[in-house]
Symmetry: C2
Subunit: 157 residues, 2 copies
DNA sequence: CTTGGTGCAAACATTTTGCAGCACA
DNA sequence: TGTGCTGCAAAATGTTTGCACCAAG
């Protein structure tokens, strides 16, 4: 039972502080719509994710919560990640076999990563041209693109 | 210790039967170059993969080998998949959390999938425009693209 | 013959689940 | 005050590894 996806943000907010309140509100609304509860654990998890401001792993999230003195169990973290994913607040990113990564999605279903194969550095990218290309490909097949995930593996030139 | 990647095929061979011999030869050469052995198990695994002619999972491969009366252990299958990946004969594809998928790569480092979110149907795609776009993005950053993986999630229009 | 390969079973890492008690709406 | 939520520990999943024996080159 996936939660209602949030709509893509209409304004271009980039300051972490500016988005904490809206995202909490979005989450709250999505939960309420399903008869689910907005608990302190869920709030703390989302707050911590917002502070990351980039890719993270479940383990890091757990660690970070512990450091802040907010004990949240592994089970709750995983359960909340799923909730956040199903309402499109975060996105599940898979680029290596051993670990799931996540990042804030702000309602976007699209994700492009530049992955440096030597340093392991990962950078998130916006690629509007790809959306056009992708939509065209889909339209030609009578399909509709809901989103995409692109990983580009790079080395230094 | 990755094997030497194979060079992209120069000719456009598309018939499964036409490629069995070359891929075996490529694998053999890659193994020999590392002082590794070309065993019956490895040969059977590659043969079976070629017959799949599409995406597959480790479990399917194991199953298919068993049906053919070729008992190969799980451990050997996983070990061989790694070898085949490191010489670019196959490609490791991740598009869901629960299972790794693989497919023949023919030396390519690029991979585009159209994934139907409702039916689960998956289709492989060639997208030359994306290569141009990707290379341009990388060049602008002083980087060099080694390959990419793109997954487009679609529904019926 | 020597080095690497195989199968088996146990180990592993990550994620999921069952359950009993707790707490939000 | 009832349904959903939490933490814990156990289970489940997919993949890897140690080891003793086997086989390719």
């Amino acid at each position: 039972m996936p939660l209602e996806p949030i709509k893509p943000a209409s304004s271009e907010q980039t300051e972490p502080m500016d988005i904490i309140e809206p995202l909490c509100a979005v989450f709250r609304r999505a939960l309420k719509a399903e008869g689910l509860k907005y608990t302190p654990e869920r709030a703390r998890i989302l707050d911590t994710i917002i502070e990351f401001d980039g890719l993270f792993e479940a383990e890091q999230l757990l660690e970070s919560l512990k450091e802040k003195g907010h004990q949240v169990s592994k089970a709750t973290v995983y359960r909340t990640l799923k909730l956040l994913e199903s309402c499109s607040i975060i996105q599940h990113v898979l680029f290596d076999r051993e670990q799931s990564h996540y990042q804030l999605a702000f309602g976007k279903q699209d994700n492009t990563l530049l992955i440096h194969v030597e340093t392991g550095e990962v950078q998130t990218l916006e690629l509007p041209e790809l959306i056009a290309l992708r939509d065209q490909i889909c339209k030609a097949r009578g399909l509709k693109a809901q989103g995409h995930k692109l990983q580009i593996f790079v080395t230094d030139a």
